[in-house]
């Protein structure tokens, strides 16, 4: 058989722009997420709450229903800061449970199977790798938090008029900002634990455990030391304080807003630090 000389030729096709290369990881991560029927079912169930709220808002403005119940608009549901805080609380809780199941699948398998060198021998930086994985979670959790929140805001604006929308514009920014910081925090916690606890199931249990444990321990610290220090170690308290401020609602959590912001940023920073220690192209196994 004749052997012909085959010289190297570089790829001459279209290259993915450098700035959007992290999105390749996001695309593949998202593709893998819905392989589990349980997760798909859980994700679909997350839309039940927004649907009920949507129907409630509609009925709140439906003249026939109001006449039937002998009430006026805003008496069935008062769509204000408290309403959206409750809505975000409910959806945020569901988002957290979803993250506990999805989050550990992001980095743990790559680390456990030694796949990181394969990623980093390509033109990916470590930051892009983390960003790509984070975006998959962000995209998914956005669909059940701020996206339906803003849709509800839009529906209410449509039914109540432009004046309501203008008066309550801070609610829309609150929905977006509150959701984004919550998503960022729970995603980073899940990813950091996923990187440090390579066993996927244990990482999921750790995500649940860390959040519940910190909440309980924070409450215990407050009780034993008769202080408010415990709130700073409770992610739920910190986000509630921040969101309450964004929505202009009173809260029993007696810490200042700026300190709650600092607390949240410190938690996120800690997670990034943990990720940067683990997400490397090589690993020394002792």
């Amino acid at each position: 058989m004749a052997v012909y000389k085959r010289s190297y030729r570089a790829y001459s096709g279209r290259l993915t722009p450098e700035w959007s290369r992290f999105y390749i990881l996001t695309r593949y991560a998202l593709g893998n997420l819905f392989r589990s029927k349980f997760l798909t079912a859980a994700f679909v169930m997350c839309f039940f709450g927004p649907l009920v709220c949507m129907v409630g808002i509609y009925l709140n403005h439906n003249a026939s229903v109001l006449a039937l119940l002998h009430t006026r608009a805003d008496q069935i549901i008062n769509v204000n800061g408290k309403f959206f805080l409750g809505f975000l609380g409910m959806q945020g809780g569901l988002a957290f449970f979803l993250t506990a199941f999805i989050g550990p699948n992001t980095i743990a398998p790559d680390l456990a199977n030694g796949a990181l060198p394969l990623y980093f021998c390509r033109s990916f930086s470590r930051a892009e790798y983390v960003l790509g994985k984070l975006c998959a979670l962000f995209y998914l959790l956005s669909l059940i938090t701020w996206v339906p929140g803003l849709i509800l805001f839009g529906i209410e604006s449509n039914l109540s008029g432009v004046a309501w929308m203008w008066e309550n514009r801070s609610l829309a920014s609150g929905i977006f900002l509150g959701s984004v910081i919550w998503i960022l925090m729970i995603s980073l916690i899940a990813m950091a634990l996923s990187a440090w606890v390579k066993w996927r199931i244990a990482a999921g249990a750790m995500v649940l455990g860390v959040m519940f444990f910190l909440s309980g321990f924070g409450a215990a610290v407050n009780g034993v030391l008769r202080s408010n220090i415990g709130h700073y170690m409770t992610p739920g308290s910190l986000i509630t304080r921040v969101c309450a401020d964004l929505f202009g609602v009173e809260t029993p959590i007696e810490i200042s807003v700026w300190s709650a912001w600092v607390g949240l940023l410190v938690m996120c920073g800690l997670c990034v630090l943990l990720l940067s220690r683990k997400v490397r192209a090589f690993e020394v196994v002792r």
């Binding site: 199931i201 999921g204 649940l208 610290v221 009780g223």
Partner: protein, 277 residues
């Protein structure tokens, strides 16, 4: 009972105890158990440093609240998740369960041996923690006050009740999580469901409350928490219809036995396929 089964159970127990107590994977359970000890002792040391003494009654109530809300519901709960789910699922992940299954030993005996090992480990870890918490909490009150409370007051009965509740919590949660580890490939799902079920127990109808571990444990705690006293967490401890101890203790043990019997049926049919894990 066949005497061979006892010998085999003890052999499994010996092997598993070493793994449970000294495994690197279970290191965090010690941290979980020690966290409230550090909190109580730190508080006492701080008070002693400032030459202050807290109100004894208030401290007793705070201890009861932390014990019920934090220690049992979170500490012992997650500790049992870590230890008992690992007994079978951990072996599957380490690809070592087939060594047990190939040995001439009944699977039920293996299950009992593993359960006893997990139980012994959790009891030692968490009752020690409860004891140290008790000492840590009252450290700054001085020996005279504490000895009065233990001797003349109802301190000793309270301490025994707390330790007993801890042991029963280990039995109850241990059996449930061992069964989950046998039945589910991803034990996180049952753990999450049980966590939610136990958390909302106070708000469930009376008949449904009885299908949980925390209902019996709450009934056995020596001090009932005032739901208006503290934060939202105090609401979780509402126990409108407490069960008397002579029903609660055998009830919980029967629940554990029933769960273990179900798990033994499951483990008999268990097939190992490491490739799917």
């Amino acid at each position: 009972m066949n005497p061979l089964w006892i010998v085999q159970t003890l052999a499994v127990l010996r092997l598993e105890l070493r793994k449970t107590f000294f495994s690197k994977r279970g290191f965090w359970i010690y941290l979980l158990a020690l966290a409230p000890v550090v909190l109580f002792t730190g508080h006492s040391l701080l008070e002693m440093k400032n030459h202050r003494v807290c109100d004894f009654g208030q401290d007793t109530n705070i201890f009861a609240t932390v014990f019920q809300i934090f220690f049992i519901r979170l500490g012992v709960f997650f500790g049992c998740v870590g230890i008992f789910m690992n007994l079978f699922r951990g072996e599957v992940l380490d690809k070592s369960l087939h060594y047990y299954f190939l040995a001439p030993i009944r699977r039920e005996v293996l299950l009992v041996g593993k359960f006893l090992a997990g139980l012994l480990a959790t009891i030692v870890i968490f009752t020690s923690s409860a004891m140290l918490q008790f000492i840590g909490m009252y450290l700054h009150h001085g020996w005279n006050v504490v000895s009065d409370y233990l001797g003349s007051g109802n301190g000793l009965s309270h301490l025994i009740a707390y330790l007993g509740v801890t042991v029963l919590a280990c039995i109850g949660y241990g059996s449930v999580f061992l069964a989950s580890g046998v039945a589910f490939r991803n034990p996180l799902i049952p753990a999450g469901v049980i966590l939610v079920w136990e958390s909302i127990n106070s708000f469930l109808p009376a008949i449904l409350q009885k299908f949980s571990v925390i209902y019996y444990l709450k009934s056995l705690c020596p001090i009932q928490i005032d739901p208006h006293a503290g934060s939202f967490f105090s609401l979780l401890s509402i126990n409108a219809d407490p069960m008397p101890a002579y029903i609660a203790v055998p009830g919980l043990i029967l629940l554990a036995v029933a769960v273990l019997v179900l798990a033994s049926f499951q483990v008999r049919r268990m097939e190992i396929n490491y490739a799917t894990e």
